[in-house]
Symmetry: none
Subunit: 212 residues, 4 copies
DNA sequence: CATGAATGAGTGTTCATTCAT
DNA sequence: AATGAATGAACACTCATTCAT
C-alpha cells in the first residue's frame, strides 16, 4: 500500500540493498578484486557515482555485502535443537538438510566461498564473520553431537574436531560450486552428495552396527 | 666442483625453481591478483625483467607454480596404491596421511585455497588444474574405495560421491588454515583432526562392526 | 546560451576532436611509436585516463585521427568532379590545388608521411587507409584522366599508372616537408612547386601543342 | 684464396657488414622503433651482446646502416652525364633507368623510405644524408635539365623545382613499395610505371610537339 | 672475441575514487 | 539524490643496455 503510494521513497530506502545484492552476485562470480564497480553499478541499474553515496569505498561495500548476507544465515539455525525430541541422527540430518535448504539453495550460497577467498585480505571482517556465524554454527553442531553421545546414540568421538569434520563436506560442496565447479570440473548432484555424506557420517558416528 | 666452475650456469638452471618458490609464497599470501610481479621478483632476489626470461606472463608463472608443485606428488601417489597389499582401510589412511605429509605440511599447503579463490578468474588454469590434479586425485581415491568394496572391507557406498565426501574434510582443513583460520578463528591440530576424520570415515565405510 | 548552460556537455562533445587534434600534432611530430599517450593527453589538457574514455587504445586513437581528418575531405572532393563543366586540364589543376588548400596547407599535411611511416607496423590501419583514402583518391584522378582522354584533351596514356605518376610529386612534397625537409634540406615554395608540376604534367598530357 | 685460408679472420672483418645488413632488412621491414635488437642479432646469427661489440647503441647501428647504404648509392650516378653525347631526353631516361637498376631493384631499395621515416628522429643523420646523397643527386638532374634547355631540347622550365618534380614519382614508387604497398594496396609494375612517368615527363619537357 | 643472463626505466592500460553539474 | 566525466596511482610487460663468464 504505502509502497505503491510512495514508489520513489521506497526506492530510496531499498537502494543500499539493491546495491549490495548486485555486488554480492558479482563478488561471488568474479571475486572482490575481479569485480569492477562499473559493473556493480551497471547491474544495479545506477551510475558508478551513486555507489559512493551509499558506501565510502569498495571495501566498505564488501563489508556491507557480507554483513547483510550474514543476517539470514544466522536466522537459519536456531531453535530446532532445543525442541527436538527424536533420535540424534535424525536431528543432525534434519539440521544439515535445513541448512542446505536455507543457504545452499539460495543466493547466499556464494557467501562462504567469497568469505574464504577474501578472509586474508579482510581480517577484521573475517573475525566478525567468525564471531557471528562460525562460532554459532559450531555451537549448534556441538550440542547435537553432545546430545547424541549423552544419549548413547553416538560414539564418544572428539566432539570439537568432529564438528568441523562433519560440516566440511557440506561447506566444500558450496565452495566447489563457486570455484572449480564453475569451470567444467564435475560436481555432484547436491541431494546425492548430502545423502552419501550423511550416510557415511551417521554410520561413522553410530555406536553399534545394525544397518543404519 | 663443477658448480663452482659454472656458477652462472647453475644459477640459470636453478632460477625457475627459485622464482616459482617465491611466487608460490606470495600467491598464497596475497592471492594471484594481489601479488605484484615486482614483489615476486624482489622476493626471489632478482629484477622484474628476469621473471620474463623464464615465464611469458603472470598467468604462465601461476601455471608453473602449480605444475611444478603438485603434479609430481600425484604421480608419486599413484604407485603407492598399486603396490599396497594390506587392508583397504590402512591404504586409505596411508594415502591421506602421505598426502598430508607432502602437501599439507609443506609450503604447498596454500595451493588448494589459492586455486579455489582464483579458479573463477582463470578458467584456463582451472581446467588445467582439473585435468592434472583433480581428475588424477579422484582416480586415486576411486581405486581405493573400489578395492575396499571388492574385498568386502567397505560397504557398497556410492563411490563417485564418496570420493569427494571423504576428501572434503582434508581439503577443507587446508582451505580453512589459509582463510578464516589465519584470522584468529580457531583451527585444529592437524593430527587430531586427521585422526578424527579417519576414525569417522573408516567407521562409516566399515561393513561390520568389530573394532575398527 | 545553451553552451553556457551545459558547459560539461559541450566539453563532452568537443573532447574527441580536441584529443584527435592533439594526437595528430604529436603523431606528426614524433611518429606513432614515439608519441606517448601521456604527452597526447597533456597537450590536450587532460589526464591520460581521459583518453581511454573516448578511445579504446592507442591504435584506435590513430584510426580516429585519420578517419576524422581525411575522409570528409575526400567526400567533398568527389562532388567537384561531377559538376565541373570546363576543360579537363583546368579540372585537374583545380582538384590538385583544392587538395593542397585543404590538406597540404593545414595541419593534416603531416598525415601522408605519417601513414607511410607507420603502415608497416599497423597493417589493419593501412588497409583501412587504403580503403577509405587511397582507393577513393585514385578514383577521383581516374575520372579526370578518362574525361580528358574521352574529350580529346589528353593523350591516351596508361590511365591506371598515370594516376600515381601524376599524384606522386604532390604527395612527395608533403612527405619531404615532414621528413628530410624538416632537417635543413632545402625544400620548395609550394606555389612554385605545384605550378611547375602542373605545367609539366599538363604539358605532358596535352594532345597537341598550342600553348597549354 | 685467402678467404678460404682464414675463414675465421674473414668472419671477424665481415661481421659489422653482416650486422648492418641484417639491421637494414629489419629497419626497412619494421622501422627503427619497431625493430628489436634481439631480432637483428638473431637474423645475423649472433647474440645480442655481440652487437654491442661493434656498435655503441641502437642509434649508432642505425647510423652505420644508413651510411653504409649510402656509399653504393653515391657510386651509382656519376660520370654518365659528362660523357654522354646523345639527346638530353635519352640521357634523362638513361640516368633514371640506371638509378632504378642500381637502387630500386636491389636491397638498397628500402633506404629512401627508411630515411624518410626516421629523418625526424635523426636530424643529424638526415643532414648527412642530404649532404652526401640528395645534393649530389639533384646536381646530376640539374645538369641534365640545363643541358637540355641549353641545347633547345627542353622548355625553359624552373630547373630547381623541376628536378624534384621529375624525381618524385621514381622515389615515391620505392617509398610506396615499402609502406602501404606492402599492405595489400595495389602498386604498379615498375617497368610500366617508369615508362609512363618518362613518357609524361619527357613530353612535358619537350619544346615542340611532334609525337614523342 | 663472444655470450646470454640480468637489469630497470619506460609505457600502454585499468579502475577505484572524486566532484562539478 | 544522482550523474558520469575526469583523474592519477598502480601494474603488467618490453626492450635497450650492461657485464660476468
Amino acid at each position: 500500500m504505502e509502497a505503491l503510494a510512495h514508489p520513489r521513497q521506497r526506492r530510496k530506502e531499498a537502494r543500499p540493498a539493491e546495491l549490495t545484492a548486485a555486488a554480492l552476485e558479482l563478488f561471488v562470480e568474479k571475486g572482490f578484486a575481479g569485480s569492477r564497480l562499473d559493473d556493480v553499478a551497471a547491474r544495479a541499474g545506477v551510475s558508478k557515482g551513486t555507489l559512493y553515496l551509499y558506501f565510502d569505498s569498495k571495501e566498505a561495500l564488501f563489508k556491507a555485502v557480507i554483513q547483510e548476507g550474514i543476517v539470514p544465515i544466522l536466522e537459519a539455525g536456531a531453535g530446532m535443537v532445543d525442541s527436538f525430541t527424536g533420535g540424534s541422527a535424525d536431528l543432525l540430518r534434519g539440521v544439515i538438510l535445513e541448512w542446505w535448504k536455507r543457504i545452499g539453495a539460495t543466493s547466499l550460497a556464494g557467501v562462504p566461498k567469497l568469505m574464504i577467498s577474501e578472509a586474508g585480505n579482510f581480517p577484521e571482517l573475517a573475525a566478525y564473520y567468525n564471531d557471528t556465524v562460525i562460532i554459532r554454527g559450531r555451537e549448534l553442531l556441538r550440542r547435537i553431537l553432545q546430545r547424541g553421545i549423552a544419549r548413547g546414540e553416538f560414539r564418544a568421538v572428539d566432539v570439537e574436531t568432529a564438528i568441523d569434520v562433519i560440516f566440511a563436506p557440506v561447506l566444500m560442496m558450496l565452495v566447489w560450486r563457486y570455484s572449480l565447479g564453475a569451470c567444467g570440473c564435475g560436481s555432484h548432484d547436491p541431494a546425492t552428495y548430502l545423502r552419501t555424506h550423511l550416510d557415511l557420517a551417521l554410520n561413522g558416528l553410530a555406536v553399534a552396527k545394525e544397518q543404519t
